[in-house]
Symmetry: C2
Subunit: 179 residues, 2 copies
DNA sequence: TCCTTAAGGCAATTCGATTTGCCTTAAGGC
DNA sequence: GCCTTAAGGCAAATCGAATTGCCTTAAGGA
């Protein structure tokens, strides 16, 4: 039986927080004993629960990203996408967000299948587009949204180019006028 | 005095090749002694020359990327960009290219200034655009080229989405019709 | 409340990466 | 061809991460 409550949850959260803090502090390759020390937890617990530093990083990144920048329901596709893009933009301006995105990319070995989280995000997007289509709005494909909006935002972060304020909304505008 | 020729060059090439081979073989986190063994070189040499695994990875990645996908001079902006994009596309379909791009992103700590290689690539692009402008062609900005063409290609690789054949040329077309 | 057992802590051990001092090799200027 | 010295190799010593067996704690169902 699995025990999500109480202590387990406390340890998990403490470790996730330690990961994010250390990454944000520039300790990109802090090893497990160091992370454990920051979390006030025994290294063994981390080894047993996550097995490897990579698994831990992905878990921490996904856990945090999951709660960030949901797609709102504003009644118009333009509003939905702009709201979402602004959320992404905001989280990418935050140092923690940047570092986790980088860690996520870094630990995704090639040719494994896409991470579950990413697929879930794509599905969210598809639902939003379907709803807009049902309202009779002209809609882009998921791929187009990713190409026009997410890719430029992520590239800015990953290659250390500036994330200018309002860039999210502007990218959405560019997408919708290209339809 | 620095000695680029002969043995030094041989060691450097052997180590670079070992890095690429190991990465491509899925040994993402092969440590320095392992890399050294593959290169037929003493670990000490690597420690002394590159200092850390990260420096070595970035060096290997940049060295390889530098020789890949130059911007051709075809006489038209469309041709130049399409040629370049196809080169990028090709190198991204190659497993070595994928792995190195990922390694490059992974080891770029945030908030250091952009890597010299990336700036150089931006300058190349700017020159190509300037030449086209001088011929009287309508030209996008460097940022637009990166947003429309490079970002979507790189996102596909980094997030393990398929790089469909001809995608590079199609992205260029999308950019030029948006002008 | 009591009991079962999943999960965390501790400590000893193993294992491999990193460092360092010294020696050997071979670029590259003369 | 000779000489200087940058760069590579070797081996010993260190240092810390990872592993493992055993014990303790505390979820969570009865």
């Amino acid at each position: 039986m699995t025990r999500p409550g109480g202590r387990s949850a406390r340890v998990r959260d403490a470790v996730h927080e330690a990961v994010v803090d250390l990454l944000a502090a520039g300790q990109i390759d802090a090893a497990i004993p160091k992370i454990a020390a920051h979390a006030g937890v025994n290294p063994t617990s981390i080894y047993r629960r996550w097995g490897s530093r990579d698994h831990l990083l992905v878990d921490a990144a996904v856990t945090r990203l999951r709660t960030t920048s949901p797609i709102p329901d504003t009644g118009s596709l333009r509003g939905d996408l702009a709201g979402w893009a602004e959320g992404v933009e905001r989280s990418m301006r935050d140092r923690h967000g940047q570092v986790l995105l980088r860690a996520l990319v870094a630990t995704m070995a090639p040719d494994e299948e896409p991470i579950e989280y990413l697929k879930a995000r794509g599905d969210d997007l598809q639902r939003t587009l379907d709803a807009a289509a049902a309202r009779g709005e002209p809609v882009p494909s998921v791929d187009e949204v990713l190409d026009f909006v997410l890719a430029p935002l992520y590239l800015r972060v990953l290659f250390r180019r500036p994330v200018e304020p309002g860039i999210g909304a502007r990218l959405v505008e560019r997408l919708l006028t290209a339809l």
